[in-house]
Point group: C2
Chain length 510, copies 2
């Protein structure tokens, strides 16, 4: 007998229903083979056919929205408002990738006509475009039961690219995962495509089997450094290594300059409180460390943030394991030399997965002189942030030089300040630089970048949010001297799909 997969209510800690069982290797194999079997159909549908599919999938999600949000709330305790927003984001994301397909620029069509006089040697006709990698595996995230799980950005971008998806459902929300998968499959079938473009598997061992399966050509993952790195290592150790797009953990440092603290201490405190406790601190973009100046402005900021923390009412965390991990992480930080507990929130009674929000403080000098930098600069997933007090710019810059890679880095500066030295240290360490703002709240847009240097991402060349996410599931192919009858539509001279193209070195709009 394989283990059952249970749906647990984090607010009560109780099992509500048994949703599935952990998949055996044979069952994972069947899911992957089914995905491989329908890959040609998804590719042949072309951008137009897949755009239609994505829009129908979005419609099906919206239509079943009430039930999906109800299930997601029961399994995540994130609340209806947040989850309605997440559902809207998920269906928006599917429709945005339909727009990407309509545009067609993602195909990167490049044509060099034959040129017998070309330097340094005669050139044949060459036509290059991007094609789908093949079936991909996607790991659902604990903290986004919708927008980073079955109907999330990895799934939307991979299907848009023409890659069937096998999702490894997150154990924190198996019922939501199954319900969403059904909606997406209805959308596929409605568009005349096979339901098997979207598969789903359950269980930890199934995840490892998925990464190792020969038919799987790439992996999208969001989760912990430990689990993610183990799967990355599996992907790299395959006889044929495959791309592994893992988002493993992020510190998201925030620097508040002395001028900013003097100008806007209260405003920044309000923003930081909302950002570090948003979703019970369970965001990959949660600010985990804030550099605050000593002096009056910094003291005001610290005091206001401590007040806010004491008044915060934490919701239940996503799962027991996540709550326990958060408690351990908080304790480890409190145990570091010179760290003080500046404030703590109340915690509700009951058997749910609760833990207090915590605001910690430490001096930059203490960190520089001691051995605790790696602990303080590690991700702590949950409602906790560390205020690092710096005496002057030299101390600030010396401490920033130790920061690991992060998804984001944020600067709060004075009205006309140009803190170039700070930005020069943050830029190589982040995928997104936020100015006078807060790192949580990741817009789904053409210009978004969500993925920074390791460990925030295993592949800083890629993004998991925004339209460029489609690039992760494609590879180039060139056709040399190929007659029109054998060329794909996208490479035909007459440009029947009206694509932007680079022709003989010159970018052309359709």
């Amino acid at each position: 007998m394989t283990a059952t997969v249970e749906s647990v209510d984090p607010r009560t800690g109780q099992v509500v229903e048994v949703v599935a069982h952990e998949f055996t290797p044979d069952e994972v194999n069947a899911s992957c083979e089914a995905a491989a079997a329908v890959a040609p159909a998804l590719d042949d549908a072309g951008p137009r056919g897949r755009a239609r599919m994505l829009r129908l999938m979005a419609d099906e999600l919206d239509t079943d929205g009430d039930k999906i949000v109800e299930l997601a709330d029961r399994e995540s305790a994130l609340g209806e408002t947040r989850l309605r927003g997440e559902l809207a984001r998920s269906s928006f994301q599917l429709r945005l990738f339909a727009t990407v397909l309509d545009d067609g620029g993602y195909l990167n069509v490049t044509i060099d006509h034959a040129d017998p006089d070309a330097a340094p040697a005669p050139r044949p006709d060459l036509r290059r475009m991007l094609v789908p990698l093949g079936p991909v595996g996607v790991f659902g995230a604990s903290n986004f039961p919708l927008a980073f799980s079955v109907p999330g950005g990895d799934t939307a971008s991979a299907l848009a690219a023409g890659c069937p998806v096998v999702v490894k459902a997150h154990p924190a929300h198996p019922a939501t995962s199954e319900r969403c998968a059904e909606a997406l499959r209805r959308g596929a079938v409605g568009a005349g495509l096979p339901a098997e473009v979207l598969g789903i598997v359950h269980g930890g061992p199934a995840g490892a089997d998925l990464v190792r399966h020969p038919a799987i050509r790439a992996i999208g993952f969001t989760g912990s450094v430990g689990g993610g790195r183990a799967l990355f290592d599996l992907a790299a150790a395959r006889p044929d290594p495959i791309p592994f797009y893992g988002e493993l953990g992020s510190l998201n440092p925030v620097v508040v300059t002395a001028a900013a603290a003097a100008e806007r201490a209260d405003e920044i405190a309000v923003g930081l409180l909302a950002s570090y406790t948003n979703g019970v601190g369970q965001f990959c973009t949660k600010p985990g460390v804030v550099f605050v100046p000593s002096g009056a402005g910094g003291q005001n900021l610290r005091a206001a943030l401590a007040d806010g923390t004491r008044g915060y009412q934490p919701g239940a965390m996503l799962a027991e394991r996540i709550r326990d991990g958060f408690r351990a992480g908080a304790d480890a930080r409190i145990g570091c030399t010179g760290v003080t507990l500046l404030a703590e929130s109340p915690v509700p009674d009951g058997a749910g997965f609760f833990a207090p929000a915590r605001l910690l403080g430490v001096a930059a000098r203490t960190l520089l002189d001691g051995n605790d930098l790696p602990t303080i600069f590690d991700e702590c997933f949950g409602p906790l942030t560390v205020l690092v007090e710096y005496a002057d710019d030299a101390e600030l810059l010396a401490t920033l030089a130790h920061l690991p890679g992060s998804l984001t880095a944020t600067v709060h500066a004075g009205a006309n300040e140009t803190p170039t030295a700070v930005v020069d240290l943050l830029r190589p360490r982040a995928g997104r630089l936020v100015w006078n703002g807060y790192p949580t709240g990741v817009a789904v847009a053409w210009a978004m970048q969500h993925g920074g240097p390791y460990p925030s991402s295993t592949d800083s060349r890629s993004t998991s949010v925004g339209t460029a996410a489609i690039e992760r599931w494609l590879r180039p192919i060139a056709y040399q001297s190929t007659p029109p009858r054998m060329l794909p539509d996208a490479l035909q001279e007459a440009n029947p799909w009206q694509l932007p193209r680079r022709v003989d070195g010159v970018l052309q709009l359709p």
Copy 2:
């Protein structure tokens, strides 16, 4: 004492001079640190400054061309004509990347203006572009002492991207490597940039040290499956894994349809002979297996190719180890069940690194029924190809389904034939599809793709030849809500660099 690095003449097998010594870990460290120290200067130079540098580097290579070609010929035995062409290709490549920098499209500038009414949530101002990864390591290839070594495509594309390069010189041509490095450094200094944008290290252990060095952010490699996979594994096992662009070995299958053999047997034989013996068969794009129909057309092709092979005069191979590896590979294939030696070339006398060219034959049926497919479908680096005789389309397609990933796949078809089933099997297995042509001779162009599924490349999403090679050394970064005074020039609203951009979802030409 560390081991010396000797320059050997392949035509005589004699050591001509001692060029360097194998680098110690401290020396590799110094080279990598020097590269890291100049990385900001190379980035700050911007596309315009780096374009100027690349053009001066090309000029310096051309100016020193006589001496470089003389050294390269002495160390590779590839002959003056080929090496003059390779030099021209190398300086052309540097100038082509200068054009890529002038164009600026490679920066992928994307701007989404702030939109408080955006769905599904208000959107801040977001501006995304690509930035250099940092210093990169490049491994010179044995078979291209210029175009895939110190002044080759990896170096040109990485410098263009803004990444300093540390080259691990190939032991087959250390003197050429040093001479070319000096020319490139003169070009850098002439453009007002530090000579250290181009470093060079010698010795096998130095290569491993280079891959592991914390300052190195990506690797470009061309070489054997064994050595390349070992270095790929080192890169993936780092505390912070880095991209490894390895081109490890390629079979480059050629399919000749029955119609093509009937129409053009002699012509195809002439082309194949030139392609499989070009550069003494030492090309990553050498056709290693040719599918030939049974019947009169196929017989004619086989006979003509056997005649040509018997008349071919092989030059010396690049190095003793390569010659020995080729002999062993040829013997292993001749030892396979059903394989016959159709023809063999003469071999010159003397102590140089010579080996005969060989044309082998085997029946597709024998391969399908036996256990030798993995041996026949493995790369054999040198002047050897295997003609696989197929009785009918079913036998052909069944055999093609076993092909590994290759850089290229070639189809020779009849004048109006549409061999769709063949192409459908080849396309997922290749980076470039060649129609009625030959895989050797890789044009340096915007639409070139040189990199196919594993093992031909460790990253089929990338190319090592053509303008898209620059993409390998870049990562995206997004600026959120950033005031103009803190934005890079490339992201300024007024578009001072006149870049193609995608603004609010719409691609715009400057």
